[in-house]
């Protein structure tokens, strides 16, 4: 079996377009609203979720034949919770300021429906390698939206990207003011809605 057979490619590509976790399945919206007021936490959150979906998918897929059916959700939760705790500890040790910014939301990755959704729908039925690809694909799909929304919100809300000021001082002197609405969580919801609309209208193709 080739590592990048057509099927495997689909496992990776589908979640980025047709089967997109946020745009298609509308999963994991909650955390997308909370951590996207600036670009940097959005990127870190996206990466954290990607790592966790990839590894939890792989681990569950390896264990899938041994997991007792009656406690499969419990087993999935234990694996996810362990991974999330590890990631949160690593963030605290290496990028402390970002972990402070993300505060409780790293821990709340446990409850991100993308994870449980992919474990139930994909990893329980498929081999480790396709599951890994599926996890990476879904994580990146999620990260992609976070980055788009985070960039728009930081740019319009604070006039900067990744903390660097983009809008020149001259613009502020000429009367430009940052849109404070953009720093509110509600705007993330509206932006996600707009992204879904654009995606459905221009990129989404029926199978």
């Amino acid at each position: 079996m080739a590592l990048f057979s057509k099927q495997n490619k689909e496992a990776f590509i589908n979640p980025l377009n047709l089967d997109h976790p946020i745009l298609g399945q509308v999963l994991g919206i909650c955390s997308a609203l909370a951590v996207t007021s600036q670009l940097k936490p959005a990127i870190v959150m996206g990466l954290a979720v990607t790592v966790i979906t990839a590894f939890s998918n792989t681990i569950i897929s390896i264990l899938r034949n041994t997991i007792p059916n009656r406690i499969r959700i419990v087993v999935q939760l234990v694996v996810v919770a362990a991974l999330v705790t590890i990631v949160s500890q690593i963030l605290k040790a290496y990028v402390y300021d970002v972990s402070v910014q993300l505060s409780v939301y790293v821990g709340l990755i446990i409850t991100n429906c993308i994870l449980m959704g992919r474990l139930e729908a994909f990893a329980m039925q498929n081999k480790p390698w396709p599951s890994f690809l599926d996890g990476v694909g879904n994580g990146l799909g999620y990260a992609m939206i976070l980055v788009i929304v985070g960039a728009v919100r930081e740019f319009l809300g604070r006039g900067s990207l990744l903390g660097f000021q983009i809008i020149p001082d001259a613009a502020y002197e000429a009367g430009y003011i940052n849109n404070g609405m953009m720093t509110m969580p509600a705007m993330a919801l509206i932006l996600v809605g707009i992204v879904i609309w654009v995606h459905r209208a221009y990129f989404y193709k029926e199978k």
């Binding site: 007021s37 041994t66 007792p68 009656r70 705790t85 040790a93 402390y96 505060s103 720093t183 969580p185």
Partner: protein, 261 residues
């Protein structure tokens, strides 16, 4: 033979093994990363103290060096940490504060110059609402509003306050719009945390009882430390009347009592 993955004993053994493995893994990772996390927490605290001294935008190593340069002494006053600092030859006292916000704890560092005015301030929170209460931490502009405000009134009480409508721009700071409860928390925290520090500030200045009472005690220590009460107006008179004995005795009593002995 195919394993029956649905039997009770299998489920129990399976979950027990899984949990033990995960527990060991987490314990190991926690132990391995603990020193780095502690270092980060300590560095973050130092950065916050520097923020309150209006030294911002420093990276890890720079902040560490600057902190060592600026902060001279760390003192513990009945559980409240106070830092004696020196910037450009000016003595500054940084007080750590703790209080309650709307959703959780808030904390802060206020730097006080020797005139009893705010030199700089930095506030932090655990879980205030983003965009509203969280502005006490995120908004540098709001923290800078504190600079130059007078902290203590004539009678030594804390007059620095956070209010909705500023009547007295010398002592009052406008609260964060939309975050009245968090602002009230900051106000209470300032009142509570700064009230005991007036001696620290004035003790360093000329107002100390030492000068007037040195004649009386002939011993600086006696007046400044053990017998602070001598500063009270009533007793100053007593001391002024060359009643050395009065001051030397720990009773701190005046007038007739003293002379009688």
């Amino acid at each position: 033979m195919k394993l029956n993955t649905n039997s009770n004993s299998y489920i129990i053994i399976y979950s027990a093994i899984l949990v033990v493995i995960v527990a060991f893994l987490l314990a190991f990772i926690f132990k391995a990363l603990k020193p780095m996390q502690d270092a980060n927490v300590a560095l973050d605290m130092k950065k916050q103290i520097l923020f309150s001294l209006n030294i911002r935008d420093l990276d890890g190593a720079e902040a560490e060096a600057k902190y060592a340069e600026v902060v001279k002494e760390e003192k513990d006053l009945e559980g409240q940490k106070v830092y004696e600092c020196q910037i450009d030859g000016q003595d500054i006292l940084v007080a750590s504060l703790k209080g309650m916000g709307l959703w959780g704890g808030i904390s802060g560092y206020v730097a006080i110059d020797k005139d009893g005015k705010v030199y700089g301030a930095y506030f932090n929170h655990e879980g205030e609402t983003a965009g509203l209460g969280a502005e006490i931490k995120d908004s540098q502009a709001w923290q800078e509003k504190f600079i130059g405000k007078k902290i203590y009134g004539e009678d030594g009480s804390v007059v620095l306050s956070v209010v909705k409508k500023v009547d007295d721009p010398d002592t009052q700071v406008d609260c964060v719009t939309g975050a009245t409860l968090t602002s009230n928390g900051v106000d209470a925290m300032l009142k509570d945390g700064l009230k005991s520090l007036i001696q620290q500030i004035q003790g360093a200045g000329d107002d100390c009882c030492c000068d007037t009472e040195k004649d009386c005690c002939n011993d600086e220590k006696c007046c400044c430390d053990a017998e602070k009460d001598c500063c009270d107006k009533a007793e100053m008179e007593c001391c002024d009347k060359a009643e050395m004995d009065c001051c030397d005795k720990a009773e701190k009593k005046c007038g007739n009592d003293c002379t009688a002995e």
